[in-house]
């Protein structure tokens, strides 16, 4: 028999009107990496919040047993003192402080309230070396570097170092890789593997099932607030996991249909933008791109290749000025700001939906109509009933799950929030729609619906450009793929020629 480090027994948690968790049992074996998977809204976050003390003892039913001893956590500090380190999806780091100050934010070494910076530096260096971030290594940082100068992957690693700075037995990672590139994911998984060898137990929550299969020892699937199954990895495969998560067989993750390529709809010619921070460097270097009616154009590449920047700039929302031409339906257009872009039938669905896409204080209706207020107004006066009517059309068309159109978008799940942004885009009736990471952080079922919607758009004659860091998504949905590397578009593939290996080679620029 294994010895369990953590047992969560019969955990139930109710919110007004919703049973978020229903008798969940979750046992973690000492020294293992235990993955927790499930669709959005399955109850993963709630379970983790109970374990991390965000919902203190008394607000839920059931028992938490650590090392055979029942724990009643009243605060996050109680949890930390019991040797549990928690890394949340949103990083809790201070951009203006140095790496070492961030790591020792709560308990800086020193006496009488005076910080011993030398000791802090030394200990930070040790911690970083522990996770393969020595100053000299490829991924290394200096402990005195300000956090804001780090890449997102490095920040994630600093969070881990911070968790490790306390003597922890159990490390919880909630969606640690959702913002990372494949290369950064590799580094992270290696580090987790290293920690496992040192005896640290780990709970790993992710939507990326490939990673789960690579790293986990056991896998627990949650669905609708219940534990569906816990299996050893050897008894699990990806398809089984998906069918357990969604409760049905999902034969094909991508609803691919044949598209007939039409005429040229959108073209970028000799497009260049200077790098805002590094003088003399080009962020975008002479980009040329053509997109046709009736196709999904996939844009692949690693993070930092300039994909998001290219389309943000084309949309008129980038800080640096650009040189080059943009043509829509063969006509040259001037786009100085997003107002011009929308007027020319261009819509950019940003990758960061909470920060750039949604107004979380507003309702589904107000968000949906925000980019096309003129359509629900006469002489600048809003027609509320028309707005409700129009919004309802989109709610039905793209199946947004919301109690009503007046509900705050803040109460919706990630997938449905994304659909609200899509509804907003569709209401502007764009000719060209650019989807930047359209399915990031949303569950399998909602992803499928968004893919179907993309097909529907193509059928309606909209040109769809999809930026994605998920290779499978690019290969599964695009009709044609362009890869970007170092601010250039360096390769083009018809979908029948494209493979993961070829795309990866092109993205890393190692083909020439």
């Amino acid at each position: 028999m294994h010895e369990y480090l953590l047992q969560m027994k019969n955990i139930s948690k109710e919110f007004p009107g919703v049973k978020a968790l229903n008798n969940v049992n979750f046992d973690v074996v000492r020294g293992q990496i235990h993955a927790l998977v499930g669709e959005n809204g399955a109850g993963k976050s709630t379970l983790i919040k109970i374990l991390c003390g965000i919902y203190p003892y008394g607000t839920y039913d059931g028992q938490i047993v650590i090392n055979g001893e029942e724990k009643k956590f009243n605060s996050i500090r109680d949890v930390e003192n019991s040797g549990i380190g928690c890394i949340h999806q949103e990083l809790n780091l201070v951009p203006e402080l140095s790496v070492s100050e961030n790591i020792f934010l709560n308990d800086k070494p020193g006496k009488y309230g005076i910080v011993d910076f030398n000791q802090m530096y030394k200990r930070t260096k040790e911690l970083l070396a522990n996770i393969g971030m020595d100053v000299d290594s490829h991924n290394g940082v200096d402990p005195n570097e300000k956090l804001k100068n780090l890449g997102i992957g490095q920040k994630q690693l600093v969070e881990i170092a911070k968790a490790l700075s306390k003597d922890i037995k159990l490390l919880i990672l909630d969606e640690p890789t959702s913002a990372l590139t494949e290369a950064e994911v590799d580094i992270l998984l290696d580090i987790l593997d290293g920690l496992r060898k040192k005896g640290v137990t780990c709970i790993y929550i992710s939507h990326r099932l490939d990673e789960v299969m690579r790293i986990a020892d056991s896998i627990t699937v949650l669905r609708d607030g219940q534990t569906i199954e816990t299996r050893e990895k050897v008894d699990m495969d990806k398809e089984t996991m998906i069918s357990l998560m969604v409760g049905r067989e999902l034969k094909n993750m991508f609803p691919r249909v044949e598209h007939k390529r039409g005429e040229l709809a959108f073209e970028i010619k000799n497009y260049s933008v200077k790098h805002p921070d590094i003088p003399g460097k080009m962020l975008l270097d002479n980009v040329n791109l053509k997109a046709y009616k009736g196709e999904i154009l996939g844009i692949s590449g690693l993070m930092g290749a300039g994909r998001t920047e290219l389309f943000t700039s084309v949309f008129g929302a980038f800080s640096e000025p650009a040189v080059g031409e943009i043509l829509i339906d063969g006509k040259k257009v001037e786009i100085k700001n997003p107002v011009d872009a929308l007027n020319n039938g261009l819509f950019l669905l940003t990758e960061d939906r909470k920060k750039l896409g949604l107004n979380l204080l507003m309702s589904v209706k107000e968000n949906t109509t925000l980019a096309s207020l003129e359509k629900v107004a006469r002489f600048g006066v809003l027609d509320n009933n028309k707005a409700i009517y129009e919004t309802n059309n989109y709610v039905e068309k793209i199946k947004i799950k919301t109690p009503n159109v007046e509900a705050s978008v803040n109460t919706l799940s990630g997938g449905n929030q994304q659909k609200v942004v899509i509804a907003k885009a569709l209401m502007t009736e764009p000719k060209v729609i650019i989807l930047d990471e359209p399915t990031r952080g949303i569950d399998v079922g909602a992803k499928y619906e968004i893919y179907k919607l993309m097909n529907q758009l193509v059928d309606e004659g909209v040109t769809v450009i999809m930026i994605s860091s998920e290779m499978e998504e690019i290969l599964g949905m695009s009709d044609r793929v362009l890869t970007m590397c170092n601010g250039r578009i360096n390769c083009e593939f018809a979908i029948c020629d494209a493979t993961q290996e070829k795309l990866m080679q092109a993205s890393t620029g190692s083909d020439n």
Partner: protein, 390 residues
């Protein structure tokens, strides 16, 4: 599905009226009862209530403009000085220059717009925060007041200008206004109902609509009756209510208003939705200083003079009125009518406590405590509701 939308709508169609607003209404009623008891009834006389609403008119008007500014995510500290400046300009033009009342009003309003345009453009097109730009504006225009008046009082004004600060409309006109308001409410309800039928979103029994209409009509009639039993509706109060109606309409029913809420709620999302953020921000500051111009004219008319002290600290009263009335300092949330509620609460404290012959310092302290409590309470209720959501 769309029917559920209307199911959840409350009787008074006040989906956006938060807990804070209801609490404030309750607090106001308690205060009125308390002051009536403590002053042995002289608080509730029509003469005193008439004075009370007349006193609040200026803060009410300035708070109305301030709500839009704060909702857009900004702040305007200059309006107290700007109103003082424009009041003094108006007085100086009339007393020393012999300019007619209409001319004076036109010039003051125009200058108000120009000042708003200047400050608003600086805020929108430079990266200097509105707090700094309007703090600068506050100092500049306080200096300008002294420059115009040379530190003396500029008086007297023409009778036609005094009308806007001191007069009352006759009882007959008051009754006509009440009847028109009640009729307008009914027509508005009926047209809303028709529109809902057209889009198939109607789900409210006729009786609910009628009860709602009756309650509002009763409040209107009672207020007019109360004011009429003294001297009639004070002109500044009438102006305030007209402006509140206009600004509520702008905030809630126009595309411009919706864009302001969108900018205050999430400026980046607003930008990516194709909203011309800069132009809308300039317009908000223009509207706000326009309100300051109107308030300045009314104050000068009430005092029958332009004085160097006019409008000192009034921007803070306007901000407090907006915030007590439910406007969130972080932007994106707030109601124009709330500023009237906030203004009424502060005027009640001033009026009631001075009737009790308490020293003036008590008024400041109590107002400070109320301001903090209102926001604290709001944050607490919000936290509780968001906890139960997740």
């Amino acid at each position: 599905m769309e029917n559920q939308v209307l199911n959840k709508r409350k009787l008074f169609n006040t989906g956006k009226f938060d807990v804070r607003t209801y609490t404030m209404i309750a607090a106001l009623i308690i205060m009125w009862i308390g002051f009536t008891y403590l002053t042995e009834g002289s608080f509730i006389t029509s003469r005193n209530l008439s004075n009370l609403v007349r006193q609040m008119a200026i803060v009410g008007i300035m708070g109305t403009g301030m709500v839009l500014v704060i909702v857009s995510g900004g702040i305007d500290l200059s309006v107290g000085s700007v109103m003082g400046f424009l009041g003094c300009i108006a007085a100086a033009l009339q007393v020393w220059g012999g300019v007619s009342t209409l001319g004076v009003i036109a010039i003051a309003l125009l200058l108000g717009l120009i000042i708003g345009l200047a400050q608003g453009s600086l805020i929108a097109y430079t990266d200097v925060p509105p707090f700094i730009i309007t703090l600068g504006g506050m100092l500049i225009f306080r200096g300008a007041v002294l420059a115009v008046t040379r530190g003396t009082t500029v008086a007297p004004l023409q009778k036609s200008l005094l009308y806007f600060g001191q007069a009352y409309v006759s009882n007959t006109i008051g009754i006509v206004i009440a009847v028109l308001a009640v009729a307008f409410l009914l027509l508005n309800e009926i047209s809303k109902r028709k529109a809902k039928q057209k889009y198939n979103t109607l789900n409210e029994p006729m009786s609910t609509m009628i009860i709602r209409w009756l309650v509002f009509s009763l409040i209107i009639c009672a207020s007019v009756w109360m004011l009429n039993s003294y001297k009639g509706i004070p002109v500044p109060v009438l102006i305030m209510f007209i402006l509140v109606l206009i600004f509520s309409f702008i905030a809630e029913k126009t595309t411009f208003g919706r864009r302001i809420y969108a900018i205050g709620g999430n400026i980046d999302a607003a930008k990516y939705s194709g909203i011309n953020v800069k132009r809308n921000i300039v317009m908000v500051y223009c509207l706000n200083t326009l309100m300051a111009a109107i308030a300045g004219l009314i104050l000068a008319a009430r005092l029958n003079a332009g004085t160097p002290q006019a409008g000192i600290n009034l921007e803070l009263d306007a901000i407090a009125a907006a915030v007590i009335g439910g406007t969130s300092m972080t932007g994106g949330v707030g109601r124009v009518a709330g500023a009237i509620l906030g203004g009424l609460i502060m005027a009640t404290i001033d009026n009631g406590m001075s009737m009790m012959n308490l020293d003036a310092y008590w008024q400041y302290m109590v107002k400070g405590v109320i301001l903090i409590t209102a926001v604290w309470f709001d944050i607490k209720t919000k936290k509780n509701s968001s906890k139960s959501k997740k």
